[in-house]
């Protein structure tokens, strides 16, 4: 096992990109400003200098066409990592993603695979407003044929990026931009995290908090608050939405008998509803209370400094909701 050392989430993603591009010449990076500029969040810094314009390709602001070209490249021997600058803009690539990339493997009965990664930055926190702050991962998780990952730690950011690049399927990789500076132990060298394996982030007895991406950290902070209140919360991070590690989630609920699902996407028709329904179906006999869903409020996300923080839960509000569930008779 490689030795861990502390780097941040953004550097961990980059480490995976450098490693995979060195290992496999068919890996290319495409996106707006990913070339000489190194990405608007410096999330592609240094790639252009090492791999050149042939493999680190600046696209025009033509998300649909450029992503469609990435899909065609993936169907013909390349392994593109395509960046959509803001997660909100996946709406612009949806036809290429949902009607082409997701279906080619199936429609061709295995003749043609689409090994590509669509990476995109999501989440609130920078006062960017309704069209630059959403977490629309549920849109992609709805489409059979795609895999969807949401790393929450620096180690997973590296490991899941490496796994996504090596995967022969289209993988959508959602990175929360507020996590870029999060530091953590990240193994050096070749390291990947299997897609579809959840991780228990904190053990607990009284309630399971199933949390994704940045909400994992909110849940861990809430668990600290709950501990002070005498409630032992377990925090489970699915890490992948598709495939979803139902067994690990169910095992946690069997132990705690209560569950709260928290995610940064909209609550209506969202990931929290899907996971809650799955737990209700698979763990009904162990549940002592209905599964609670907490997602983003069902509103366009205001840029206002006073309103934006109200859209998704913080630790105190999450802890309050969890405590109410635990105390419910």
């Amino acid at each position: 096992m490689p030795e861990p050392r502390v780097i941040n989430y953004r550097a961990a993603i980059l480490e995976a990109l450098f490693a995979e591009m060195r290992r496999d010449p068919s890996v290319i990076v495409m996106g707006e400003d990913v070339g000489a500029a190194g990405g608007v969040f410096k999330q592609a810094a240094g790639l252009f200098e090492e791999f050149g314009a042939d493999r680190v390709i600046d696209t025009p602001i033509s998300e649909s066409g450029a992503f469609g070209i990435a899909v065609g490249a993936a169907m013909s021997g390349s392994r593109p990592v395509f960046e959509v600058m803001f997660g909100d803009f996946i709406t612009l690539v949806m036809d290429q993603l949902a009607n082409q990339a997701a279906k080619v493997q199936y429609m061709s009965a295995g003749q043609i695979s689409v090994p590509l990664v669509l990476r995109t930055a999501v989440g609130i926190g920078a006062n960017l407003g309704p069209q630059h702050s959403q977490s629309l991962h549920a849109w992609t998780a709805h489409i059979p044929g795609l895999k969807v990952v949401m790393p929450s730690t620096a180690a997973d950011a590296k490991g899941l990026m490496a796994a996504a690049i090596r995967d022969d399927n289209p993988v959508v990789y959602f990175e929360d931009r507020t996590l870029y500076t999060l530091r953590g132990d990240v193994p050096e060298g070749d390291y990947h995290v299997p897609i579809g394996v959840a991780e228990v982030r904190r053990e607990g007895e009284d309630v399971s908090i199933v949390a994704t991406s940045r909400m994992v950290h909110v849940a861990l902070a809430a668990a600290d608050l709950l501990a002070a209140d005498g409630i032992s919360a377990e925090v489970v991070d699915p890490r992948s939405l598709v495939p979803l590690d139902v067994a690990t989630l169910v095992a946690s609920v069997r132990k705690t008998s209560r569950a709260v699902v928290v995610d940064g996407g909209y609550r209506q028709y969202g990931v929290t509803g899907e996971i809650a329904a799955t737990l209700a179906e698979e763990a009904f006999d162990w549940l002592d209370a209905p599964v609670t869903r907490i997602g983003a409020e069902n509103v366009p996300i205001p840029f206002s400094r006073s309103l934006e923080p109200l859209v998704v839960p913080d630790a105190p509000r999450l802890a309050k909701a969890v405590a109410e569930l635990v105390r419910r008779r």
Binding site: P60, S64, G65, A73, A74, S78, Q96, S108, Q111, S113
Partner: protein, 336 residues
């Protein structure tokens, strides 16, 4: 179609190119005959209720598929559209497996699950027919990007109708193909109608060639009813792609004898228009030249015709002997 539009479309006809060698000329003819026979058989099967889904036929447009594909090699790639049987067969697809797929049989290219709109043939470099108008355009450009990176001089061609001229996606992709000098060939089969609507009713600027030249892409109008004219234009485009000179844009003026799909009443067309175009039929045109220039007798041409009819009938019989996909097939190949 308006008179002025008809005039403009007639102007696309150019001086007749020379016939290739006899064997090659006959191969072009046979390929067009095969596509016509394949689709005419499908039309009758559809009318008998034996083809699931919708069926979009290319009768009248065979010269474009055959002319372009005759200039492509095995390692070159195509992306097709919803009217794609001709493209698939011209690129080398098995008649049996194509027929089986359209008829929904398990021996088809997609296990009988995908049908006419989603026909993939990786062995022959076919990235699929496509249910989204213009959907194949970026896929071919992507294949051209892969080809450019490999550096072996391969090209990628895509076929789309005049309906796709008004998809924003096409403009995005043409722009990138031009700035990245991708070895891509964009082939617009201008058959005068996007679904049920005449091109001039929904399209500004009635010279589609300008859609390529605006990006400084070498672009030309081609007589899409003449397989030899298409072939010559395709040869120029392929040569540019192989030489690293970037993309080409061909607007092949052609005609769809049938409706948008089988069963379309075609109330928007007049019979005279159809009759005029059928006089320019690409199969008839090449047949007449082969006879006039002493390359093939009428008997030889009729024998080829009989051959392809037999091949198509055998494909239908083979497909009918095959099973439909079973419940076990429903979830297969969802992921690699």
């Amino acid at each position: 179609m308006s008179d002025s539009a008809k005039q403009k479309r007639k102007k696309a006809a150019a001086a007749a190119p020379p016939l290739p060698a006899a064997e090659q000329s006959l191969a072009l003819l046979r390929q067009m005959q095969l596509i016509r026979a394949f689709e005419e058989k499908l039309r009758s099967l559809f009318s008998a209720g034996l083809v699931p889904g919708l069926l979009h036929l290319c009768a009248g447009q065979e010269a474009v598929a055959v002319g372009v594909c005759s200039e492509l090699g095995a390692a070159d790639v195509i992306a097709s559209n919803h009217r794609g049987h001709g493209h698939c067969l011209a690129k080398g697809a098995s008649v049996n497996r194509t027929m089986a797929e359209v008829l929904g049989r398990r021996s088809g290219y997609g296990l009988g699950r995908s049908g006419t709109l989603h026909l993939f043939d990786s062995v022959n470099g076919n990235l699929g027919t496509n249910g989204i108008v213009g959907g194949g355009i970026p896929l071919a450009a992507g294949a051209a990007l892969s080809a450019k990176r490999r550096g072996r001089g391969e090209v990628a061609a895509c076929f789309f109708g005049d309906g796709a001229l008004n998809q924003g996606l096409m403009f995005e992709v043409l722009n990138m193909a031009a700035i990245w000098k991708l070895p891509a060939i964009f082939i617009c089969e201008n058959n005068g109608y996007g679904e049920f609507t005449a091109i001039e009713d929904v399209t500004a600027g009635l010279n589609p060639v300008a859609r390529g030249t605006v990006f400084d892409i070498p672009s030309e109008a081609v007589d899409g009813m003449d397989v030899l004219a298409v072939r010559e234009a395709a040869a120029r485009a392929v040569a540019r792609g192989r030489a690293g000179e970037g993309p080409s844009f061909l607007v092949c003026t052609t005609y769809r004898y049938g409706g948008h799909h089988v069963g379309d009443s075609q109330s928007y067309k007049d019979a005279e228009e159809v009759r005029e175009w059928k006089e320019k039929d690409p199969i008839l045109k090449l047949s007449r030249r082969l006879e006039a220039e002493g390359v093939a007798s009428a008997e030889r041409i009729a024998a080829l015709e009989a051959e392809v009819q037999a091949e198509v009938l055998a494909a239908v019989e083979a497909a009918n002997a095959e099973a439909l996909p079973t419940a076990d097939d429903l979830g297969r190949f969802l992921y690699a």
